[in-house]
Symmetry: C2
Subunit: 623 residues, 2 copies
């Protein structure tokens, strides 16, 4: 059977496979937060022609069903069909995402240590050529020379020894030996090749960022960014763990992200005329699940109580083992994780924030899918994941999307007329709403009296922007020609859950150490989301604590920044290990205190308004 796509290709479809699977098999990816299980309702396609069977209509409206809109994941062709894929349903991979700059970090490293200390070192060997009288083997000849440099502990892998005889003779017994900081030999390199390179990699649940770095002077040569292709199998880590274990797709997920990295790498090598073998180290930063999937480690126990990762402090395995297409023997350093839901990306984040070095008590938060929070200073650190969920990144919200072109990023509502003023990324026709827009909207709804403290729409407002649909009431942010952009009451429930989780996480974490929020002198907000967040509005809805704006620092993608630091400095790698060891990891999902805090934080801004004096003040003013 065949599937013909409007304005697109015609693809073969195996009988028994869903439209979603058939498209995927042919490289056409649809948005599917639930991983293609008929739950999230995002993989909508419209059937233009042909017989089909469909099993689920979750989240489809009557009109859509009438228009033959179906969920691709539970729809099965019964003959050749012709379909249309709405723009919303297409998963876009490869667009550019802002990354933080390296210059400041390089200056910082230079202030810390006289020379850069990447995971791989070089030593020039000037060997005496062998003779009948001096007939040491090649390996023993190298060892003798190293011994003269007081290096006695070098280890030689099979791969290294296999290439040694030829390499030494080719370079006439004078060449660089590259080796890891743990004294494992990597390769013999021509004395003319003075430069060597490294990769810093941030494997996010959503995006993958790769830095190509000159390890001799620390220059960031090139940056590559792409969406994590594992998204085909769901937006959040839990869906992917299920896919890896119950779906038996561990290798598939592993290969997906490794291919993403290698793809970016290939383009960068070509652009910068750098050969594979000269990239002799890599540092990987990511959350615990992402890192286990990268290394092909079964992540099932992360998801099952008591939520145990296989390893937090990773040995430096080889690039060949990782399947990274750089020097086969290159060590791949993994930034240490802390627990099942606080990973190396948070360790890297703390390292980049430097809060672990200062006496002031600070709070670090990464408002992404896991909503990790750390509190502490140079003496102690405590951390938890709030499972905020991916709704600020667009998932679980009817018209949610990431902060890319067409996303509503700011919302103003006239409290009298309910007229709406929107800020849209790229100043184009709005296609959806991103995290900062959602926070704005929530805050504006609340102060305009459109929703109450529980997030429920007021039933007695007279505006054509508020309408009751099958699933409940919704607010029309934008009347579009082809579609309206709305926030539904269900969306608002999800947003309240996310913001409550974040606030409750902070409170509980502080209570664990017997402190309250007012002891916190600085709040670091990390993650792509942080770049767009309106702090005041986030305080208004009770997501961030009510503190002066100047106490908040937006520090961008600190996961890649920390990876970059670790790539260039042994001191930073040791600090990262110290940070990970020092962090006390609390499992909030089983904490009784958390549930209480969470229930209180489900209100706008909170059941205890005294916690938010500036909100109370404005609320009283506007009443």
């Amino acid at each position: 059977m065949e599937i013909k796509i409007l304005n697109g290709r015609t693809l073969a479809a195996e009988p028994g496979k869903s439209v979603y699977q058939a498209l995927r098999d042919n490289g056409v990816y649809l948005v599917a937060s639930c991983g293609g299980k008929g739950v999230c309702g995002k993989c909508r396609v419209k059937i233009l022609e042909g017989k089909y069977r469909t099993e689920s209509a979750t989240k489809l409206k009557k009109k859509e069903i009438g228009d033959k809109v179906v969920l691709a994941c539970t729809t099965f062709p019964e003959e050749d069909i012709h379909i249309e894929i709405p723009e919303d349903s297409k998963l876009v991979i490869g667009d550019k995402i802002a990354v933080s700059k390296s210059k400041g970090f390089l200056d910082f490293l230079r202030s810390e240590e006289p020379t850069l200390t990447p995971p791989v070192r070089k030593i020039m060997l000037s060997l005496l050529p062998p003779s009948i009288e001096d007939n040491l083997s090649d390996v023993e000849r190298v060892k003798r020379s190293l011994s003269e440099h007081d290096i006695e502990e070098m280890r030689f892998s099979h791969g290294f020894v296999q290439s040694l005889a030829k390499a030494l003779r080719q370079h006439n017994w004078t060449a660089y030996l590259t080796y890891t900081e743990n004294f494992e030999a990597i390769s013999i390199v021509s004395p003319e090749r003075v430069k060597h390179y490294g990769l810093a990699v941030d494997i996010g649940t959503t995006t993958v960022v790769v830095y190509l770095v000159d390890c001799t002077d620390g220059t960031l040569l090139d940056t590559g960014v792409t969406y994590n292709s594992q998204m085909r199998h769901g937006d959040d880590v839990i869906t992917r763990i299920v896919h890896a274990t119950e779906g038996g797709a561990l290798q598939e997920l592993r290969n997906a992200v490794v291919d993403d990295i290698n793809g970016l790498l290939n383009a960068m090598m070509e652009r910068n005329h750098i050969s594979r073998d000269d990239i002799d180290s890599a540092v990987i930063s990511g959350n615990t699940t992402m890192v286990q999937l990268f290394w092909g480690l079964d992540p099932s126990s992360i998801r099952e109580e008591p939520y145990i990762p296989t390893v937090n402090s990773y040995p430096a395995w080889r690039a060949g083992t990782a399947k990274l297409l750089i020097n086969h023997q290159a060590p791949v350093y993994t930034i240490p994780c802390v627990g099942s839901y606080v990973g190396g990306d948070i360790t890297a984040g703390l390292l980049a924030s430097k809060m672990h070095r200062n006496p002031e008590i600070a709070l670090f938060m990464d408002i992404g899918t896991n909503g990790e929070i750390v509190v502490g200073n140079n003496e102690w650190l405590i951390t938890a994941a709030t499972s905020a969920g991916p709704c600020f990144e667009g998932s679980g919200i009817r018209h949610g999307m990431r902060a890319t072109e067409g996303a509503i990023e700011s919302v103003k509502i006239n409290p009298t007329t309910f007229d709406v003023e929107l800020g849209v990324i790229g100043n184009v026709e709005p296609a959806g709403i991103c995290g900062s827009g959602m926070i704005d909207a929530l805050s504006e709804f609340f102060f305009a009296g459109i929703i109450d403290q529980k997030g429920k729409f007021s039933r007695d407002l007279n505006s054509d922007r508020i309408r009751i649909e099958e699933e409940g009431p919704e607010f029309v942010l934008h009347h579009g020609e082809t579609k309206d952009i709305v926030l539904t009451e269900v969306d608002i429930e999800n947003l309240l859950r996310a913001k409550a989780a974040i606030y409750a996480g902070m409170s509980v974490l502080l209570k664990e150490v017997g402190l309250s929020l007012d002891i916190v002198e600085r709040i670091y907000i990390a993650g792509g989301f942080g770049n767009y967040l309106n702090v005041e509005k986030a305080i208004m809805i009770g997501m961030l604590p009510d503190m002066p704006k100047e106490k908040f620092s937006f520090i961008g993608n600190t996961s890649i920044a920390g990876a970059y630091l670790c790539l260039l400095s042994e001191k930073m790698r040791r600090e990262a290990e110290d940070i990970a060891k020092k962090m006390t990891y609390i499992e909030l999902s089983v904490s009784h205190g958390f549930m209480d805090e969470y229930m209180s934080a489900l209100f706008l801004p909170h059941t205890n308004i005294d916690l938010f004096p500036s909100v109370r003040e404005r609320y009283n003013k506007e009443e």
Copy 2:
């Protein structure tokens, strides 16, 4: 085209390929000392029918050429042919070879150390199952437990970590951890599996011997022996190096010997009901070339002046790397080599002889292809290879063969009648002559006046046993129905070269340290050949020094014995390393002194008869 074998299969033959190659491609192997280069004249087949082209008739007699006997390696079918393969030309693989017993060595180990110390250790881990409060990762949990046993330095490979989560849960957090003596984790093993096993392997140029050993009590459970399949590509190490490098067949040679070992292993595992994963260590002993080929290391520099191996002291790489089909993570220890032509088999031999522990000056010799010799005691050791060549193993001798059924192993000749009395292995119709038979014959020829001091046949003897053929004179040891067994003057030249090389090697080695042969208090003779050697006759021809018979010890296959010792004892592994480091390796092929000694030793027994008083005495008596 097709080749039909008399009483055998019909095989496909690609045009342009020789009969030898076509047979080999179909798994039919012929004897070919030269590796199929038209030189050794051993791969004879008889063409019964069909057109063919032949390029070389080296060593073929006129009558044979008339009978359409050809060398398979230089004969090319031009249409379907029908051939007969004489028994002599067939390479027999798989017959049993005597191996030395393990009992004595086990008693020795027990007297040395209270417990056995194989390269892999076991520790019982009783881990606290993880909980929300005690949420260490699996690896860190194992580390904590090891730390309680004062083990801090364990390293974890990717393969180990990949299987860890499942294994710990499967065994309910109580299991053995197996690890190498260098603290590299191997596997998690059920607490019920108390036994673990190891392999000792001797890779000889000719034969491969494998011991399956119970590492908990040292019992030798089973023994496997086969010919080294690399023999298809030539009898000696030089031919194989050429094949590996110029022929680009390094991987082919590597796979050949690895397959030999795995084949023996499979049969042994089945017979003893032992599973692959429970065999968690291996020790490899072999000459330098055999070991480099086993590990897939390009051996070319071994053959080129100044004759340098890639590595002498091998790291313990993993079974997965070696392609040995035992536990993938098992360490494979390689007994250290000394130089290009003195390998780990000699280190193992010394270890088994224990001469490195005693103050008496001893001489160790392995009369095989390389003819390695060691002189020394507990203070010093000096060694060289004499390149004696493989003629005592049958190669380069018209009717030479190994010491298997049908081989003439002893010869007596009546000096008056020239009647011959033969001892034949298996008491069957003789098929050829093996090393001990050759030494006997040479000695008897000399004392009966059949040959002179230079090994030339006396032209004035009247006996139908001495006849002049195309290639020169020869002595008929056996008049057979289908063929006669002879020793030719060319054979005798080869034997003289071999015995001269051995004797000259000993002399030069002793001179290097300013000593003479009479200081030697013991001579150890190792190797399969040693089992059958008649010392007195070997002295008569001037191959062994003229010393009382009781000073000679035949110690059998010490290469496998040394491997067995190293498999069970860390102390023995350290001793093997000390031995290898202590040995001073002399390259005889470039020594001027060696050529002088060699020329003198080409006589029977020697130009200086004073070196052989017992020979002089008998000679004078019989004159």
